[in-house]
């Protein structure tokens, strides 16, 4: 705990922005982006905490974030496939 | 040697600045592309050169050269594709 950590601040603001975006944005792709912004805020918080160890950065949050990134990207990729399918269905419905 | 390196890096940064200003201020896509790719390629080249001088190591300099070459190739192709796409779609969309 040393002084003001701008990255901790940024992490908190990213979480706030992500939440706000998720609530207010109607487009599913935008909402996926918002969730990802929120998630990146969480990851940033973890890495900020990892640096508070006196002897070198703590590898465990690093591994947690790496796992988190892969999970978030997998889920987002699946979500994007659903967004495309939704658009296809809508097009077919319009015809 | 390190002074020379620093000087070259500052020069490179100037090119970056010029390129960015060009991208923000130029009126149409083509001249913006021109500003970004040309000035940034030179800027990156100078940056790599400067860093190479600072490191004082041939292997690192070679690595920086590879980075520059890859970046230049990618930027060139990207620029080509954007311009081409623009040309086909016409300028009316602006």
């Amino acid at each position: 705990m040393a002084g003001l950590d701008v990255y901790a601040l940024a992490a908190a603001v990213l979480m706030g922005l992500g939440f706000h975006g998720l609530v207010t944005q109607p487009h599913p792709l935008k909402r996926l982006l918002a969730v990802n912004v929120f998630g990146n805020g969480v990851f940033l918080a973890l890495i900020v905490l990892a640096r508070r160890l006196p002897d070198g950065p703590d590898p465990i949050p690093h591994a947690m974030v790496l796992t988190g990134i892969v999970i978030a990207v997998s889920a987002t990729a699946f979500g994007l496939a659903l967004v495309r399918r939704q658009a296809q269905d809508r097009e077919r419905g319009d015809d | 040697m390190s002074l020379l390196g620093a000087l070259i890096i500052v020069c490179g940064l100037f090119f970056y600045l010029a390129g960015t200003v060009g991208m923000l201020r130029f009126p149409d896509v083509y001249s913006r592309l021109h500003a970004v790719t040309k000035a940034d390629n030179v800027g990156l080249g100078l940056l790599c050169l400067g860093c190479g001088l600072l490191f004082q190591s041939w292997s690192k300099a070679a690595l920086l050269l590879v980075i520059w070459l890859l970046a230049v190739t990618a930027a060139t192709v990207g620029c080509h594709l954007i311009a081409r796409n623009r040309l086909q779609q016409g300028d009316d969309a602006e």
Binding site: M64, I71, A75, G79 | -
Partner: protein
């Protein structure tokens, strides 16, 4: 062998899923059946082992916590694994019949469902806060593609909504885990429970984030919006699995955290009553919505929204009876809801639709399906001698013991409302048809034994749970130490 069982309970089902992914279902579903056997055996052996010797632990990679991850099967885990095995096994049998004519859907089902089974077991065995996040994501990402098996545009919409909310929920949970790790530097639940006492308001914030995330995942009102479409739109076996097991997984984790690291923040009166208030809202809202639905599967889906609410009533009561009651409710509801969804699915299959108004008079033709619906409904209403009755009885006693008499009133009101929506369906089905509308009765499709027996067995189990209280509550064991 004993200490290997938890690992086998996670990975044998997953290997089965991978096997089907590689080789397909095989002739006459050989690989599917093998997969079910692979999944059932270690689960049941593990439950038997826990019943015999108590808690089974496994240190993965030989590393003890806090460095490594621990798998732990205590009474609560064993009970949930048993529920998964019973419901999963019977629904698997139903699925063999259900997907018999759709080869492609069958193949994907038999890839995803064993993976889901393994993931659920992994979640129930997890004793590590971050590992619980990973297993929650596994459960979600195995469950959502299953919704897509319905193939309709509506299912796609529901799946997308479900995915976005679930992803957000797990990120909220992870944010809480990050704070906990920052506070004490360990992710093991037991170690965290020991070190977290008196951690101040940061722990409260972490608890709020984790609990909110789990509430989103568990579809508790006001986060229930995705549930009815997803559960109502999916194929019947999938709906049964989602309602009986998948949403329960998030609630299970909530209970696990309450009995462990998050006991202090969740036991503060304000937090406990807030959660119970959400539970009450869920019971009332879900039941009223279920009364208003026109389609049978949606009635059952909204009933899930309502029944999940009971599980939140634990927090202000915080006693032995309430603990037993809530968990028994989870088990009884799981079995009964699986039976209801299979019955609703069979009715839909036989009639070709599930509009309640058009079911007039079909009760006499579809006596078995509606009979099962009624039997499972008895448990949902909480009438004796069913499992639901035993659970509600424990909950009522728990609430009176804690002096929370108005929670007892809510429990009774919820039972009455449940009776309302169950009888509404049965009334429509068994109403004597108008003599002049005789020709409106449609052709009824025949269902095979594979689709009839699992439904029947599940419905009978739902009633039978009323007599199984003694052994199951013994398996559950003592309350978590904190309650004393």
């Amino acid at each position: 062998m004993t200490e290997m069982l938890p690992v086998l309970a996670v990975f044998l089902p997953m290997l089965g899923g991978v096997l089907v992914f590689l080789l397909g279902c095989g002739p006459r579903n050989a690989w599917s059946v093998l997969t079910v056997m692979l999944s059932l055996t270690p689960s049941l052996l593990l439950v038997q082992q826990v019943a015999a010797v108590g808690t089974v632990e496994h240190h993965l990679g030989g590393w003890a916590p806090p460095l490594g991850i621990r798998l732990m099967a205590d009474g609560l885990s064993a009970l949930m694994i048993l529920l998964t095995a019973v419901v999963g096994g019977l629904v698997s049998m139903h699925a063999l019949g259900h997907f018999a004519e759709r080869a492609n859907a069958a193949r994907n089902f038999w890839v995803l469902w064993p993976l889901l089974w393994g993931s659920l077991n992994a979640l129930f065995l997890s004793a590590d806060l971050f590992n619980a996040y990973v297993t929650l994501e596994l459960v979600t990402l195995a469950a959502i593609p299953l919704v897509l098996l319905a193939g309709s545009a509506q299912a796609v919409n529901a799946a997308l909504r479900y995915l976005i909310l679930a992803l957000f929920g797990s990120m909220l949970y992870l944010a809480g885990v990050a704070l906990v790790y920052g506070l004490i530097g360990t992710l093991d639940m037991q170690l965290a429970a020991e070190r977290l006492s008196g951690a101040g308001w940061v722990l409260d914030l972490a608890a709020a984030l984790m609990v909110t995330g789990l509430l989103v995942k568990a579809a508790i009102v006001p986060f229930h919006l995705w549930l009815p479409d997803a559960h109502g739109g999916a194929p019947a076996p999938v709906s049964a699995l989602l309602s009986a097991l998948v949403v329960k997984a998030a609630v299970y984790l909530l209970l696990r955290l309450w009995s462990g690291p998050l006991f202090e923040p969740l036991s503060q009166p304000a937090a406990a009553w807030l959660l119970a208030g959400l539970g009450v809202a869920a019971i009332l809202y879900g039941s009223v919505q279920a009364l208003r639905q026109r389609r049978l599967k949606l009635v059952v889906a909204y009933s899930t929204v309502a029944q999940l609410g009971y599980m939140l009533l634990l927090f202000p009561m915080a006693g032995l009876l309430a603990w037993q009651g809530v968990i028994y409710h989870g088990v009884a509801h799981g079995v009964a809801k699986a039976a209801l969804f299979l019955a609703a699915g069979n009715i839909l299959y036989q009639l070709g639709h599930d509009r309640i108004v058009d079911m007039r008079g079909s009760g006499s033709v579809l006596a078995i399906s509606f009979g099962c619906f009624a039997l499972a409904g008895v448990s949902i209403m909480g009438l004796p001698p069913s499992g639901g009755f035993l659970a509600k009885w424990l909950l009522l006693q728990g609430s009176l013991q804690a002096g929370a008499w108005w929670l007892a009133l809510v429990i009774l009101a919820g039972g009455l409302l449940a009776a309302g929506y169950v009888f509404r369906v049965l009334r429509a089905a068994f109403q004597v048809p108008d003599p002049d509308a005789e020709e409106k009765l449609p052709e009824v499709r025949h269902i095979g034994a594979m689709m009839r027996w699992p439904m029947l067995l599940l419905a009978l189990t739902a009633i039978g749970l009323g007599f199984a209280g003694e052994p199951l509550l013994t398996l559950l064991g003592d309350v978590p130490g904190r309650l004393g």
